[in-house]
Symmetry: C2
């Protein structure tokens, strides 16, 4: 067992501060990782502040982890010391249920072990995330990161990336499809980049005309202002797929009117009640509203490989760990373009 | 042009009464039908009372029509005088849009012509439905009714039947699947019969323990009382498909908890706002909420053929047209097991 430095909170009202946490000794299938970068996800804040149910304190957040392998267990076959790797939202799952067998560990019927706040099967207590120097993870939950990518920007792919990539794959979005991305934050900006890279005709759908320039810079072909009734009418029944990244409950009915018959709007942001959906809108053209949660490990690797091939990366604002409290305040105000990444070198000297 | 007897309403507050309406002379592709039976659908009432938007009066309702062919146009190839036929909710569509080309006339992009209250392309004005002696319909919208069926009971298949059959087909419900049917009325009782005939394990889901015996008689393997938390927990995440026939807005969240990962709940009854759906329920197991509207003509024929082969028929209460106002009152109170069918002989002497 090794004692390492981390940043976390001790209660739901506390600021993040320096902590010492334990990392386990390697078992045969483990990979030890020196963390180089960790992305900042809004989930970190929701969890730390007990907004998604009571948290287990201390909370050490962080599930967008990029680092180098520093040691491997005896039975590890996929990784060796020095490899560039990533860890996302999960560090374990049962491997036996139908979801795990279908490479959908995120839907594990026995409950996947989340990277932070999950039940720690090795040390007892609960898991600690990537706002820390090191992490030890079973190789099945370690991703290989293409070396050609700018590694300072890779981290957000592990959550924001896979959360938007997976629904585009699952609902079979392909070249030429008209895809709407609703909401332009950490998730939305990756949705635009991926849909564009796949070759879709990408329409950024937003209430804020001020986001139009950014959306086009990120790869949107068009911007649709959802408060403009004329524009909304023009696009009615025309979309092949909608990716809804809005992080709070909202009225989805105007978006449902945009969908073609037999298409889906996938919710990936709002983990709370949506305003009343009109049944008639679903019935009249056999439309679907669905949800999607991150992605499986196999799919996450495919996404990283795709990003390596097409050089797809998030827009990142780099911070030192000492500035994390200010960064969280800005995330809450949606004042970030489009994802904070912590340079974990800053923790070494802390 | 022929003047025939019908029953209809002259305003949204009027009772149904005897009317005279015009039926067109046959064009080359037309089939003239002597109406023997007409089912009573809750839509008839919603429309006649302008509950779904302002109606065009007089309204002559009825879109569950069974009768005998009495004449055919020169180019009619599928039918001859004497054939037993049916007409459902539609009597025309553009035949050119992508929906029509996929045999999904109910989703016609130019708007299918509904059997009553639609724009009449031949006589001008609007279409009149099956509460009448005769109807003239393009052969493409006429269904062949298997002669082995008890023809007094066939009519409700043309709307209640296809409305429940189509989603079971579209979402690929098959032998051994665990299917929940929510709500036990005209639609729900057909949902149970079809799911049972397909070989599914059918669970009737209801708030009313008093419906259990009927549900089992109709083919349900189990009855789940949705207000019983213990029972609901036992069935959580276990259903392969849910057919939601509840005809009004309601809280669907308890039903969503019943669904397995990657399954669908199809709404077929509630043409109004549903209570707020919790995004987290959709996200956590990639669940879908969809709508479905009646079915295409090809699929309706397949359903009728299936009913002929498996002798599947609705439970009907026969009435004379003179009792229609009382029947409508009972439909509104959900006091019918499970569909009224008008014996149109009663109109002859009226």
């Amino acid at each position: 067992m090794e004692n390492v430095k981390a940043y976390g909170v001790q209660s739901e009202t506390a600021e993040l501060d320096l902590l010492q946490i334990d990392r386990r000794d390697l078992v045969a299938t483990d990979v030890q990782i020196d963390i180089l970068y960790c992305g900042v996800c809004h989930s970190d804040i929701h969890t730390a502040r007990s907004e998604w149910g009571p948290a287990k304190y201390p909370v050490v957040p962080g599930h967008e982890i990029v680092g180098r392998v520093t040691a491997v267990g005896d039975e590890v076959t996929k990784f060796k010391t020095g490899d560039l790797v990533g860890v996302g939202c999960m560090v374990d799952s049962c491997q036996e249920c139908s979801a795990c067998k279908e490479h959908l560990e995120q839907y594990c019927e026995n409950g996947a072990t989340m990277t932070y706040g999950g039940a720690d099967k090795h040390l007892g207590g609960h898991t600690y995330g990537g706002y820390s120097e090191k992490i030890v993870v079973d190789e099945k939950f370690v991703l290989s990161v293409p070396e050609n990518l700018d590694i300072a920007k890779v981290a957000p792919l592990l959550c924001a990336g896979i959360t938007t990539w997976s629904p585009l794959q699952h609902w079979n979005v392909k070249k030429g499809d008209k895809v709407g991305v609703i909401g332009l934050g950490g998730l939305g900006h990756m949705g635009i980049k991926f849909a564009h890279a796949i070759g879709a005709h990408v329409v950024m759908i937003t209430r804020s005309p001020g986001k139009a320039d950014d959306a086009k810079m990120l790869g949107a072909d068009e911007v649709l202002i959802s408060t403009d009734e004329e524009q909304m009418k023009k696009h009615a029944n025309s979309f092949d797929f909608l990716l809804n990244t809005v992080p709070v409950g909202h009225d989805v009915n105007p978006y449902v009117t945009l969908m073609k018959r037999d298409t889906t709007m996938a919710m990936v942001g709002a983990i709370e009640p949506l305003d009343a959906v009109h049944g008639g809108l679903l019935v009249s053209k056999r439309k679907n509203i669905a949800g999607s949660m991150i992605g499986g490990i196999k799919e996450t690797q495919e996404m990283l490989d795709f990003c390596g091939e097409h050089n797809v990366l998030p827009e990142c604002e780099m911070i030192d760990i000492q500035n994390i409290n200010e960064a969280w305040d800005r995330v809450v105000k949606a004042d970030v373009k489009y994802r904070f990444v912590i340079d974990m070198k800053s923790l070494k000297g802390a």
